[in-house]
Each structure stands twice: as structure tokens, then as C-alpha cells.
């Protein structure tokens, strides 16, 4: 049957991944050599928010849970760094990462434990409400968090000081930091790819498609959702950790619900039904927002229009639409 329809035997998933990922990774590695510091900076922001999107989409795309509260974990990562820098005088990026991951793991484990008892709108509202608790704490406990002024974070040391950028000024910091982020981004992509193709990842997708049946296969649905929530929160927390040194400042804005909305937005923009959707969405969103803000003071309207067009014309996002196009042009390869 397979021979008759002319469908080629699909390559092993690992090979498919490498075939696409390696050229893109090489291209991303070359960016600082031809782009200016500002473009490199934007791309670093894009990769960071893409990590948050990847984490978010483990819940939305693979587990079928729409969180409106991912700002909580991003903010936890960011404030963990700020507290370490301000109160403990720590400057090591690696220490920031370890501590940020631990703290966002704790927060997402607790929040997730509460939220995964529900699904659909109830789940969404709970995630939103819990994230708003953190936001109001960041705003009100100003003697710890700096209130609405936030906390400043100086540039950290990278790899225990092995990557020195002093003397090179901002451009050198950016190009070093870009590579730092890129390496972590690649690791995050590979790990997430492994997770969604593992038996665990298949179980999540089964739960998304049909919760009742999944339970009747002997899968402990709530526990799977909780672990997915935890991984998702840790990814978003890591994004928060990486974001702060670049921004130099963390404020309660990144704990506020519109920031959760941005994570939802970029995932829809890229396409939540595809693994690469949030990656493309994260990068495109960062550039789109930056240029929209620079071009017009009504940038929110512009983003709003994009969102409406997206839902009406490209419900599967950029990557989904591209995949459909490729499937239409080369139908025999669309397996």
C-alpha cells in the first residue's frame, strides 16, 4: 500500500530533527557576525521569550491546558535573580540559573498542584488568579521588591568569569550574552523535543485528546498534568532568569496578566499545534512588538489587529500555515 501511494518512508525522528535544527542553529550562531548589536539584542530577547513559549506550549499544545498565568513563573525567575544580586551580592549567571530554576520549580509545583484539579476555563482562571497574587505581592512589598520601581540587576559574570566582556562595553556583552542564551536555547529545544516525543509526551497528548479514555488506559491524568505544569513553569522561569540581565531591571509588569497574554499571543502567532510554533512566534513577536512600538504610539492596536487576522485567517499560526502550504505543494511528503 505504501509503495503504491508513493509515500516515502519517513526518516527517523532524530534525523528529521537534525536536518532542520542544525542549519538553523548554525544560522543563529552566525547572526552576531553580520547583524548589529541592536539586532543581536532583539534576537536574544526573541530566543528567551521563545523558551518561555516552548514551556507554555507543553501545556497548551500538548496537554490541552490554556494557562493565563505564565507571567508568574517568568517573574519568579526574574525576581530570584534580582534578590540574589541585591541581597546576596551574587554576580554569577550560573548561580542565578540554578537558583531561578529551583525557585520557579517550587512555585510552579505548588500552583500546578492547585490548578490541575480543574480544566478548561476553570484552569485558566486559577492560573490567572494565582499569578495576580504574585503581582500584588511584588507591588505591595516594596521594601523587598522595590514596588513599582522594581529592582536593578547589574550585568552578571558568565561561566564563572571565563567570558570577560569588560572593556568591550555593551556590544561585547551583547554578543557574548547572545551566545550564552543561544546555547541554553538549543539545550531547551532538544530537551523539549525529547519530552514531547517520549512516552510521557505521548501520554500528555492522549490526555489532551481524550481524558476519559486516557484514564481508562491506567494513566493517572492529574499527575501527568501536574508534571507537565512543573516542566512548563521551569522553562518559563528560566526565560525570566535569562531576561533580567539583558533588561537590567525587573518590575511587577512582568508578573502582571498582560504579560501572560503576550506569551499566549506569541504561541498563537507561531502556531500551538506545531513544535516549532512558539519558537517562531517568540522571535517574530519580539521584532513585531519592538517595531510597532517604535513606529506608532498605538502599537497595541496594531498587535490587536494582528491577533484578529491571526484567528480569522491563520488559526494554525505561521508555522501551521507554512506546513499546510508545503503539504499542498508537495502532497506526497505530507505524512
Amino acid at each position: 500500500m505504501i509503495a503504491l501511494t508513493g509515500t516515502p518512508r519517513p526518516a527517523l525522528p532524530q534525523l528529521r530533527l537534525m536536518g532542520i535544527a542544525v542549519p538553523i542553529a548554525v544560522l543563529l550562531a552566525l547572526v552576531p557576525s553580520f547583524a548589529n548589536s541592536y539586532q543581536t539584542l532583539l534576537l536574544a530577547y526573541g530566543l528567551i521569550i521563545a523558551i518561555a513559549g516552548l514551556g507554555f506550549n507543553l501545556l497548551l499544545g500538548y496537554t490541552g491546558l490554556l494557562s493565563f498565568g505564565h507571567s508568574a513563573y517568568f517573574g519568579t525567575g526574574a525576581y530570584a535573580v534580582a534578590f540574589m544580586a541585591q541581597d546576596l551580592g551574587v554576580r554569577s549567571m550560573e548561580a542565578y540559573i540554578l537558583c531561578g530554576l529551583a525557585l520557579s520549580a517550587i512555585v510552579s509545583a505548588v500552583f500546578g498542584f492547585i490548578c490541575v484539579r480543574h480544566t478548561r476555563i476553570f484552569f485558566g482562571i486559577l492560573t490567572l488568579a494565582l499569578s495576580q497574587v504574585l503581582w500584588s505581592l511584588a507591588l505591595k512589598l516594596f521594601w523587598i521588591t522595590g514596588g513599582s520601581d522594581g529592582l536593578r540587576v547589574p550585568r552578571p559574570t558568565l561561566l564563572g568569569g571565563m567570558l570577560t566582556y569588560t572593556g568591550g562595553g555593551f556590544p561585547r556583552f551583547i554578543s557574548y550574552y547572545y551566545y550564552y542564551v543561544l546555547v541554553l536555547f538549543v539545550v531547551c529545544v532538544l530537551v523539549m523535543w525529547m519530552i514531547v516525543h517520549s512516552p510521557f509526551g505521548k501520554a500528555l497528548q492522549a490526555i489532551r485528546d481524550n481524558e476519559t479514555r486516557a484514564a481508562f488506559l491506567g494513566l493517572r491524568v492529574r499527575r501527568f498534568r501536574w508534571v507537565a505544569f512543573l516542566i512548563s513553569g521551569v522553562y518559563t522561569g528560566l526565560a525570566g532568569v535569562l531576561w533580567v540581565p539583558l533588561n537590567g531591571l525587573t518590575t511587577p509588569d512582568i508578573l502582571y496578566w498582560p504579560f501572560s497574554g503576550e506569551i499566549v499571543f506569541l504561541t498563537l502567532l507561531g502556531g500551538f499545534r506545531n513544535f516549532t510554533g512558539p519558537i517562531v512566534g517568540g522571535i517574530v513577536f519580539t521584532f513585531l512588538k519592538t517595531y510597532a512600538v517604535a513606529t506608532t504610539e498605538y502599537w497595541q492596536i496594531l498587535l490587536g489587529v494582528v491577533l484578529v487576522v491571526l484567528v480569522l485567517v491563520l488559526p494554525t499560526g505561521i508555522v501551521g500555515a507554512l506546513a499546510q502550504l508545503i503539504g499542498r505543494l508537495w502532497p506526497q511528503r505530507a505524512d
Partner: protein, 251 residues
């Protein structure tokens, strides 16, 4: 010895007794059909046995042990599996993944997130064997949502079968498919059941199919058992013929 037994099992919905003090026995290795008109309580009985509903009173015994309080998870581990009246599949997973997942779950491998699902040769081989039994091996790469209704019914049973249960409840495995497909589905299911060690309880409306494939038939009416016997006995039971009015009861 009875594999499964219910003792005075009762489930009320308000004043309505959906299952009324039922004593149901399933013996090891038999192919049993549960018949009755709509609302007779067949699906409710299966729901009570599979822990999708909890009984008001009565007990469920499996291999002599009281499992009345056991959760879905514990009953599946004990060896009770079921399919559903409306097809219940993972539509956006492939046919192969649908069956593989049942095996991963059974083997306790479903929580493994550091290996590729496709890389597990043992599970893949077993899943392909199961698909082969059900004649679905050529469809393995299709999404379950893209299958024809008859194939979906078969896959539904295949997924439950892949759990290697001791007892398998099939809720109307041939509903919604054409007459020709019905025979094929039932031939496949009965061949699989007879070849293996699984005991099957099938809820079915089509009496031709019931008489052809069953070792024993239990007739339900208004939440209670009306008759219980060999196909030949049920066929000549006047009371059953009256209750199943409209059903094809020859003679």
C-alpha cells in the same frame, strides 16, 4: 470459579433504579453478551464494574477479591478493561501511538520522558502485533481521527485489548457501522478473544450477532436480569422475545 461477580449491585438516579440488586457472574474464558432494550441498565452495569460510576449498595468481586472501593486505576491494574459506546480514541495521535500508549501504560513506561517513544522496539513490535490481529497494521501511520468508522471501532477494541486485560467489556462494538462491517468486526473480536486468554463481555443490540458469537447471554430489563442462559435457551424464551420487541428473534 467466577472471574467476576456482583452481589446485589444497585445504582439509583433519583427514584429511578438503573441497576436494581443485580447478581451478575462472568466465568473465566467465556464470550458473554449483555442484551436488553435501551435504558435496561447494561451500560450502567458496566460503568459500575469499571468504576466510572459508584454503586449505592452492593459489591463487585474480581477473582474473589472485593474491589467495590477500588479506583479506575486499580481496576485496570487488576485486569479490567473496557471500550466505549461512542468511539473514544486519541484522534491526533497515530494508530500505532494509540495502541503503543496502552502498552506503555501497562508496562509502567508512560512516565518515562527521557527516551523516544518510537525507539522502544519491544513496545513497537507488540503494538504492531496487536494491530495485525485487528487488521490495522497498514494504517499504523494514519491519525486515528482519519480512520473510517468501522476501523475506529476496531482500533477502540485494539487499544483496550493491548492492556492485556483478564476481562474486556465492549460497549456496542458494532454500533454505527454497516451490516457488512459488523460481521467483520465481530469475527475479528471473537477470533482475538478465542485465541487469547481474555474473557469478553459484549453489550450488543443486534440479536443475530448475539446468537452467533456468544457462549452465554444475559438479558436485562428495567435494571434487573430477565434471563441468563445459553443462546439456544434464550432463543426460545417467550418473555425475552416480548421484551426485546422489534429485535430479530427467529422462530
Amino acid at each position: 470459579m467466577a472471574l467476576l461477580q456482583t452481589v446485589n449491585l444497585t445504582k439509583r438516579f433519583g427514584d429511578f433504579r438503573a441497576v436494581n440488586s443485580v447478581n451478575f457472574t462472568v466465568n473465566q474464558g467465556e464470550f458473554l453478551s449483555l442484551v436488553g432494550s435501551n435504558g435496561a441498565g447494561k451500560t450502567t452495569l458496566v460503568n459500575l464494574i469499571s468504576a466510572q460510576l459508584w454503586p449505592d449498595t452492593g459489591q463487585v468481586l474480581f477473582e474473589g477479591r472485593d474491589i467495590t472501593q477500588a479506583t479506575v486505576f486499580q481496576r485496570i491494574r487488576a485486569g479490567i478493561a473496557r471500550s466505549f459506546q461512542l468511539v473514544n480514541l486519541f484522534d491526533r495521535l497515530t494508530v500505532l501511538d494509540n495502541v503503543s500508549l496502552a502498552i506503555f501504560s501497562r508496562e509502567g513506561k508512560a512516565r518515562n520522558l527521557a527516551t523516544l517513544a518510537e525507539g522502544d522496539r519491544e513496545v513497537r513490535t507488540e503494538a504492531m502485533d496487536v494491530l495485525g490481529l485487528f487488521g490495522l497494521d497498514t494504517k499504523r501511520r494514519l491519525l486515528a481521527g482519519g480512520l473510517a468508522q468501522g476501523e475506529r471501532k476496531l482500533l477502540d477494541v485494539a487499544v483496550a485489548y493491548a492492556l492485556r486485560p483478564k476481562i474486556l467489556f465492549l460497549d456496542e462494538p458494532t454500533s454505527g457501522v454497516g451490516t457488512r462491517d459488523k460481521a467483520q468486526i465481530m469475527d475479528t473480536i471473537s477470533a482475538v478473544v478465542r485465541a487469547g486468554t481474555v474473557t469478553a463481555v459484549v453489550i450488543e443490540h443486534d440479536m443475530d450477532i448475539v446468537f452467533k458469537y456468544s457462549d452465554r447471554i444475559v438479558v436485562m430489563h428495567e435494571g434487573a436480569f430477565l434471563a441468563d442462559g445459553l443462546p439456544a435457551e434464550i432463543r426460545v424464551n417467550k418473555e425475552v422475545a416480548t421484551v426485546l420487541l422489534g429485535a430479530a428473534v427467529p422462530g
